[in-house]
């Protein structure tokens, strides 16, 4: 493995890069179907390589530890030396498998979904570039390399959200995503500066080792700055606003980038820098509480959205909140577990939603759908499986991972007295069950809202990926279920630092908590069924209005940030720049011109007068000389 790692990791990255280049450069010459095949094959290559890496790594035994892959110095200045290095460890391998595996399925699905689009080469080029960037992000051995991947996935997200750029909404949504992410990235950068100046290196392993020795204030500041970066990428409060709008992109993009992989980068970051975060309880409390608030907030909003993809987008935000709760509860392994299962079932949900759009000619408003269970039997089945996993109904995958998080959140409460994350998490579980039941009922049950449409089931190339994801959404729980021996958790364990101090010995009562979660999920499904049976959709009064308006947060940002900033820009450009600064400059010029105009009058044009002046001057000079 030691020898295999560099070649393997590079191969892992090379596949999608090659796919990107092939699609990007050859472009139109590849025809309609070629780009999809190339793109899918490239990701399949990555997945196979990742599997090979996994096998090789496991062959090393449990003592393998992280394997750095140095690629030489990237750049430096003075004391700063940035090494381009990658890192192979269980965390990276897990992420790589999820990214390439789920990515592959979604690529295949996209062949069918994008069959009618005139620019398949561009689409798959972007998608492959994204996979490359995401793999770079997860295998980075240096924080700056990670940041490269971090930014690059953001760009791909921007490009793909705005893929149909002739729609203003899509173009604007892409821009919003990029800019919002940039806000987080700015904080991320500051965090990197702080880490570098205090640790002296940006190597992930070195930072992890040195973190606990740092002064508390520095640790807290660095952790919070990096977490701010994570809130941008993972769409947590207060930087969550871009993700729902990102649904303007093609649905495979929503599934891959905005559900399964990219948005989990923030969670991954905290797990990656566990050495720093777990040594900083103050930051962890912020992470846990903000995650729980986001989870609850987004779930409530999802109750009253009418765009099916937006429901799923808010659901994603909410589930990401869970993952942050896990991180904040000093249980990164649980968070990673949920990350994996979520990747399965949320991708499935999105693909099912995409299948609905495909069948209904891009209609996605649930009020205009309905009765689709019959014509879209497989799709409906997939959606229900995904929904049950999301709702946390046993034995679907989501149940195990969510329950584990709640268990750890409860343990956090026992250790620190902070039960807020647990309570909000439990409440969210309930709300989640309600909204996903609503979405499923409104879409698939009852009679069609617009009977004229003739929906038809998706082609096999779209159905097979959904089928595989559905299987994973059921079986994925086995990765972390106690009954199955928690293989994923055990695999990850060596890569993640263990919580020390108060939390170490605390064990939550797993049995009763599990019963409670199941009961809550069941109650949620039941309530959802009651409320929305027969495609009814009660507006929930004033509260419903607030939820429909997303708690007015977007409007607040618009009014409190965007408009003032834009007005400030206009004010600076107009009254200040042209009106004051430039006017001052031109004023100086005009003053001199006026002076010139005054002096000009002396220039009468009469040669005799000039001669008189010359002579008078001569007299003056003569007199001056003689008197000296």
């Amino acid at each position: 493995m030691e020898g295999l790692a560099p070649a393997g990791v590079l191969l892992l990255l090379a596949w999608p890069l090659a796919g990107w280049l092939a699609n990007g450069l050859l472009g139109r010459r590849l025809g309609r179907i070629g780009p999809g095949l190339i793109g899918s094959a490239a990701v399949a290559g990555s997945f196979a390589t990742a599997l090979g890496l996994l096998a090789a790594y496991r062959a090393l035994g449990p003592e393998a530890g992280p394997i750095p892959v140095p690629l030489g110095a990237w750049f430096g200045a003075g004391a700063l030396v940035v090494d381009a290095s990658l890192l192979v460890d269980p965390l990276a391998l897990t992420m790589a498998l999820v990214v390439s595996g789920v990515g592959f399925l979604i690529h295949v699905y996209a062949i069918g979904y994008m069959a009618g689009d005139p620019h398949p080469a561009r689409f798959f080029a972007y998608l492959n570039l994204f996979v490359f960037a995401m793999l770079l992000l997860v295998t980075a051995g240096n924080l700056l390399v990670l940041f490269v991947g971090w930014e690059l996935v953001g760009v791909c997200s921007y490009l793909l959200i705005g893929f149909w750029f002739d729609r203003p909404a899509a173009a604007t949504a892409g821009r919003k995503a990029f800019v919002t992410n940039r806000v987080g990235d700015a904080a991320f950068l500051l965090g990197l500066f702080l880490l570098f100046t205090s640790v002296g290196s940006l190597d992930i392993l070195k930072v992890g080792e040195a973190a606990s020795a740092l002064p508390g204030g520095v640790r807290l500041a660095a952790a919070l700055l990096l977490f701010a970066g994570a809130t941008g990428k993972s769409a947590q409060i207060p930087l969550h606003v871009w993700l729902p709008d990102a649904m303007e992109g093609p649905t495979p993009v929503s599934a891959l980038i905005h559900a399964a992989t990219m948005v989990t980068a923030g969670v991954f970051l905290i797990a990656r820098l566990g050495g720093l975060f777990l040594a900083t309880p103050g930051a962890m409390a912020v992470v846990a509480v903000l995650g729980a608030l986001t989870a609850f907030f987004a779930a409530t909003v999802a109750l009253r959205q009418h765009d099916l993809k937006r429901v799923l987008a808010y659901s994603t935000i909410s589930q990401l909140g869970y993952m942050f709760v896990a991180m904040g509860a000093f249980a990164p392994a649980a968070g990673m577990f949920h990350l994996v299962t979520h990747a399965f079932f949320k991708a499935l949900l999105f693909l099912a939603a995409g299948s609905v759009m495909h069948a209904m000619h891009d209609v996605i408003d649930v009020r205009r759908l309905g009765g689709l269970a019959r014509p879209l039997r497989q799709t409906a089945l997939g959606f229900v499986v995904g929904g049950l996993a999301l709702a946390g109904v046993p034995p679907f995958a989501g149940f195990f991972s969510k329950d584990l998080i709640l268990e750890h959140a409860f343990a956090l409460g026992m250790a620190t007295g902070n039960y807020l994350p647990y309570l909000l998490g439990l409440l969210t579980a309930f709300v989640t069950a309600v909204y996903i039941t609503r979405a499923a009922l409104l879409t698939f049950s009852g009679r069609p809202a617009e009977p004229g449409a003739r929906p038809h089931e998706a082609p096999p190339v779209m159905l097979w990926p959904m089928a595989l994801l559905a299987v994973l959404s059921v079986a994925g729980g086995g990765l972390g279920a106690r009954a199955a021996g928690e293989p994923l958790l055990r695999f990850l364990e060596p890569a993640l630092p263990h919580p020390d101090g108060a939390l170490a010995g605390v064990h939550a009562p797993a049995g009763p908590l599990m019963v409670l979660s199941v009961a809550v999920a069941a109650a949620g499904v039941a309530l959802g069924w009651t409320l929305h049976r027969g495609r009814r959709d009660p507006a929930l009064g004033a509260l419903g209005g607030v939820l429909e308006q997303r708690w007015y947060i977007d409007a607040l940002y618009e009014a409190a940030l965007l408009r003032p900033a834009r007005a400030l820009g206009r004010w600076l450009a107009g009254p200040v720049d042209l009106g004051a600064i430039d006017a001052l400059v031109n004023g100086v010029g005009r003053g001199l011109a006026r002076l010139g105009a005054d002096v000009r009058r002396w220039q009468t044009g009469y040669a005799r007068q000039y001669a008189l002046g010359v002579l008078a001057g001569t007299v003056l000079i003569l007199v001056f000389w003689m008197l000296r």
Partner: protein, 169 residues
């Protein structure tokens, strides 16, 4: 003895100078200028500058004044001066400045009140001036020739009648 030559010559020169400035007709001015030039030639003789005196007569009196006369005849202008409307106070101001100037120059001249030394043999002859001119001042001498050439070219160019209908120079 010198005074006897200098005083009439100086008187004539000043009178001629006044004539140049005050005459109404350009022709009269030109005649007055001729008088000045001639009387100055006389003073040059007294100042041991025989060659310069000769040049003065030949070039100034012989060439330059004649040129003036030609132009006067060519243009056939009378005084060309109507009442001074454009610069009404010019004359007064000019008088004041000129008076100040003269005063300053005279004061300066008084400072040079020393008798002349004796003139050595051959000073101021054509030979002496020529030797100095062609030895120490050879380059300026040649440059003077170039300047004259330039002057001739300029005069020819300026004197040419504009081609009919063309945009001119």
């Amino acid at each position: 003895m010198e005074w006897a030559v200098f005083l009439p010559a100086a008187a004539l020169a000043v009178a001629g100078g006044i004539g140049v400035v005050a005459a109404r007709q350009p022709v009269h001015s030109a005649i007055a200028l001729l008088i000045v030039l001639a009387s100055l030639a006389v003073t040059y003789l007294v100042l041991a500058a025989q060659f310069v005196a000769v040049l003065q007569v030949i070039i100034y009196a012989g060439a330059i004044v004649v040129l003036f006369l030609f132009v006067i005849m060519l243009l056939n202008v009378r005084s060309g001066e109507g009442p001074a409307v454009k610069l009404p106070r010019q004359a007064v101001a000019a008088a004041a400045v000129a008076a100040g100037y003269l005063a300053a120059l005279l004061v300066a001249a008084l400072g040079a009140a020393r008798p002349f030394p004796a003139v050595p043999q051959g000073f101021g002859t054509a030979q002496a001036v020529g030797a100095a001119l062609l030895a120490g001042y050879l380059l300026p001498f040649e440059l003077a020739a170039v300047i004259m050439l330039v002057g001739i070219v300029a005069a020819v160019l300026l004197g040419r009648r504009p081609p009919a209908g063309g945009e001119g120079r």
